[in-house]
Symmetry: C2
């Protein structure tokens, strides 16, 4: 496939999940990709997967993508800027201000550097988990600063677009503040909540519903990576956690004396504040919408859910979202389907007439 | 249908979501159900839906189910115990110790009372949202105390079983401690996190991924109900939040001085503690299992997901879980499918050979 914006050649430093995925996607588009990694076996593996060729002495990359852990990102970027004085250099670390500051301190030529941050999943790591489609449909932040022009950074935007990602421009400061709010502080808050379950009895965890599962899912994240991310963006995260603790203190005061004057109001405002905050999150396709949710009981055997979705498709109803829950101890699944409110009652009656059992929305 | 354990008659006081749902399920099983509600129109609506008949002067219920808000539960239970001296009385409030203590203080005959708590969803309220299947496959706590015998409480266990729920016995103290841990404290923690988003910029919320969405989903809960629940179980919730705040303080100390001795270790232990806690949650069918997750890109049009699930069924693979995510701004959906690790590689290669695009697990 040669349908691409980026001319190349591209050099990728670090052949973990992100570096290898970027290489796979670029090679598929006909870009000349050279790979480098501190680990010879890691490099060989990425080459085996087809993510590019080994870097050579005569390489003259247009663009260098540094895909190494946050801790060492700035140092490697500085090395690359020095070694390839005509190349634009970017990185993919989850924090952007600390590496830029470190680069400036190192005296690097940051007029040829712009950081980026593809918001792509990585519950698994390494070249073995790499996918050319990893960035498809995902936001890809270009973290601008005042030492590089828009035109100078164009190749990074072309890279994001060639990979199917959605480029979003913001300053390094805005990036770090934003991800602290929507990613890093939530990680701390979720991990601390999950840690409360460590000594829970089986009787307690048997009562756990979908709410707790959702609230603690990201607590399964990799400690090594998160030590680096949280350390590198500590001031922004700490700022949010200080505010969070102030709110928590108010909640604790109210719950320590629930009959005191003002306690009920404080609790009500706590829940209402959460209502207002969650309503700020964009829904499908970036729009904040309210959907009706219905829950259909599905026998826990292969093919049943497909049959349900086929029938929903036959009714001409577009699902806006779908979640599955298995009842603990029961051979039954609950499929929660979000649809536009205007089609809810028709969908419920059609499904019931076809023999499906409809239950209440998951709590 | 007369396949039932409970003989009846049953009297239901309060015809909201839970009371009406219980009535619908019992009527479907041929039980004589009489209904009472403080609101004549609410009562008439539940009767219209077929949840039972209006209560009459000659009623002699075997079992009375009080389905009123937590705040007034004890008072109504006491009234019912006095008015029907031969009936067993239960309630369905989300807290169990405070109502029992209040009943004892009121001098009620608690040898005929056992509280219960069906762990069923209720994102919508009222008789209009009621479903006979509401309790299917859900835990239903029977909160025992030392003034009622197991045999005396049998009818409540029969009620839970007739409704398809899974009875779990525990003391009122254990119940309240357990739901504080797995439901009430997580509600506070999630609501406070969501509240941090109230003043977020659009640029920040545009970066929100599935992790934040999951972590804040329950923050959309009803303030009025939660004021009552949190107020009634305040000591148990406050105890957990105090411990949570101690952990949060340690995290803040580490993030306020991320280069200090011990800071990295404190952050690593925070994340590792979350790993350990989330691993305590039972998986599908009550077992704690680890599944492999693959993400398949699905065009955002009716029928595509059904086609995918049909093909997975044809491959003989049983999905353990499924989640859908829509990429903001993109006409594409990501279906995250959990399967046993032993079938993962076969499923990936079979789906890829059928033309599906596989991406990385959602972060």
């Amino acid at each position: 496939m040669t349908d691409r914006r980026l001319a190349g050649p591209v050099r990728i430093v670090g052949t973990g999940l992100l570096g290898t995925s970027i290489g796979l996607a670029l090679v598929a588009r006909g870009v000349d990709v050279s790979l480098a990694d501190i680990s010879p076996s890691g490099l060989a593996l990425a080459i085996d997967y087809g993510a590019g060729r080994a870097a050579g002495a005569g390489d003259a990359p247009q663009l260098i993508v540094v895909c190494v852990p946050p801790d060492v990102t700035a140092r490697i970027v500085a090395d690359e800027l020095a070694a390839f004085p005509h190349a634009l250099v970017t990185d993919v670390a989850s924090v952007k201000e600390a590496p830029l500051r470190e680069l400036v301190a190192l005296g690097a030529d940051v007029s040829r550097y712009i950081g980026s941050h593809p918001m792509a999943g990585r519950e698994r790591n390494g070249a073995v988990a790499a996918r050319a489609d990893l960035f498809m449909g995902r936001p890809w932040v270009l973290a601008g600063h005042d030492r590089i022009s828009y035109a100078g950074a164009l190749a990074v935007e072309q890279l994001a677009l060639d990979l199917g990602a959605l480029p979003i421009e913001m300053t390094v400061e805005d990036h770090d503040r934003n991800v602290a709010l929507v990613s890093h502080a939530p990680q701390v808050i979720s991990s601390l909540l999950a840690a409360r379950l460590t000594d829970a009895t089986d009787a307690a965890t048997a009562l756990a519903g979908q709410g707790l599962r959702d609230t603690t899912r990201i607590a399964a994240s990799d400690p090594e990576l998160w030590v680096q991310i949280l350390g590198a963006n500590a001031p922004a995260i700490a700022g949010i956690l200080h505010s969070y603790r102030d709110d928590l203190d108010r909640a604790i005061v109210a719950l320590d004396a629930p009959r005191a004057t003002g306690a009920r109001r404080a609790i009500a405002e706590l829940i209402a504040g959460g209502n207002a905050g969650v309503a700020r999150l964009p829904g499908k396709h970036g729009q904040a919408k309210h959907f009706s949710r219905i829950v259909v009981l599905v026998d826990d055997k292969p093919g049943e859910l497909a049959r349900l979705l086929t029938e929903i498709g036959e009714l001409g109803v577009n699902m806006e979202d779908l979640r599955l829950e298995h009842s603990p101890g029961a051979q039954i699944g609950l499929a929660e389907i979000s649809v536009l409110p205007s089609v809810e009652s028709r969908l419920v009656s059609e499904l019931e007439s076809r023999g499906w059992k409809i239950s209440e929305a998951l709590a």
